[in-house]
Amino acid sequence: MSLVHINILMAFTMSLTGLLMYRSHLMSALLCLEGMVLSLFILATLTILNSHFTLANMMPIILLVFAACEAAIGLALLIMISNTYGTDYVQNLNLLQC
C-alpha cells in the first residue's frame, strides 16, 4: 500500500460524511454520492494497476456504468421533487412525520 491510497480512502470518508449530514439542498447529497463513486473508481484502478491483475481492469468500467445509472435515477427523482415543491430543499420532504 502506498501513501496515495491513504489520501483516496480519506476522500471517500469525507464524501461519506458529507452525504450523511444534510444542509439545505438535496442536490448536494447527490454530488457527495458522486464523490464517493469517483474515489472508489480511483482506488480500484490504482490497486488493480499496481498488482498487475490484468483481467480485473474491466471492473472500474463496470462500476462507472452502474454509477451512471444510479446518478441518472437520482437526478430524475430530484427533478420530480423540484417540480412538486418548486425547490429541492430537504425541509420540504416532510410527509413522513415520525
Partner: protein, 175 residues
C-alpha cells in the same frame, strides 16, 4: 519535488472532495468535482493507466457531470453560496482541511501507518513485477477482454442501462 507529484495530486483530490462535501451551493460542488476528477485522472495516468484515466474525463466529467451541471443550473437560487460567503460552509471546509493535513503530517513524520492494512511510504516506489508483458499494454488487454471473457458483464450492464432508462421515463411521467 517532481517525485512527489502523485502525492500532491492526491492531496489536491482530497481538498476538492472536502470542498464538495462541505456543501456550498450545488454549482460550486460541481466545480469541486471537476477539479477532483482531473486530479484523479492525473493519478491514474501516473500509475500507467492511460485508458482508464481518459475514461474518467470522457464518461464521468463529460457525461455525468455535464448532466449534473444542467440540473444544478435549473434548480439554482438567486444568490448561490460559495465557500467563503457562509460560516457553516467555511467551518466545514476548514475542519476537513485540518483533518487532512494532520493525516498528511502524521504520515510524513513516521514512515509507516498501520490502521487495518499497513501503508508505508516506500510503497510508492515498489512496483510488483510478475514478468514481462511484451509489446502490449496489460491494461488495454484487460479491458479488451471485456468483450471475450466478459460477455456476460456486457449483457448485464447493457440490460441494466436499458431498465434504468425505462425507470426514469416512468418516474418523470408525472400525473
Amino acid at each position: 519535488m517532481m517525485m512527489y507529484i502523485v502525492f500532491i495530486m492526491s492531496v489536491i483530490f482530497v481538498i476538492s472532495i472536502v470542498g464538495v462535501s462541505s456543501k456550498p451551493s450545488p454549482i460550486y460542488g460541481g466545480l469541486g468535482l471537476i477539479v477532483s476528477g482531473a486530479m484523479g485522472c492525473g493519478i491514474v495516468f501516473s500509475f500507467g493507466g492511460s485508458f482508464l484515466g481518459l475514461m474518467v474525463f470522457l464518461i464521468y466529467l463529460g457525461g455525468m457531470l455535464v448532466v449534473f451541471g444542467y440540473t444544478a443550473a435549473m434548480a439554482t437560487e438567486q444568490y448561490p453560496e460559495a465557500w467563503i460567503s457562509n460560516k457553516v460552509v467555511l467551518g466545514g471546509f476548514l475542519s476537513g482541511l485540518v483533518v487532512e493535513f494532520l493525516m498528511v503530517l502524521y504520515v510524513l513524520w513516521g514512515e509507516k501507518v498501520s490502521f487495518v492494512f499497513e501503508f508505508n511510504g516506500l510503497g510508492d516506489w515498489v512496483i510488483y513485477d510478475v514478468g514481462e508483458s511484451g509489446v502490449f499494454s496489460e491494461e488495454i488487454m484487460g479491458i479488451a477482454a471485456l468483450y471475450s471473457y466478459g460477455t456476460w458483464l456486457v449483457v448485464v450492464t447493457g440490460w441494466s442501462l436499458f431498465i434504468g432508462v425505462v425507470a426514469i421515463m416512468e418516474i418523470t411521467r408525472g400525473n
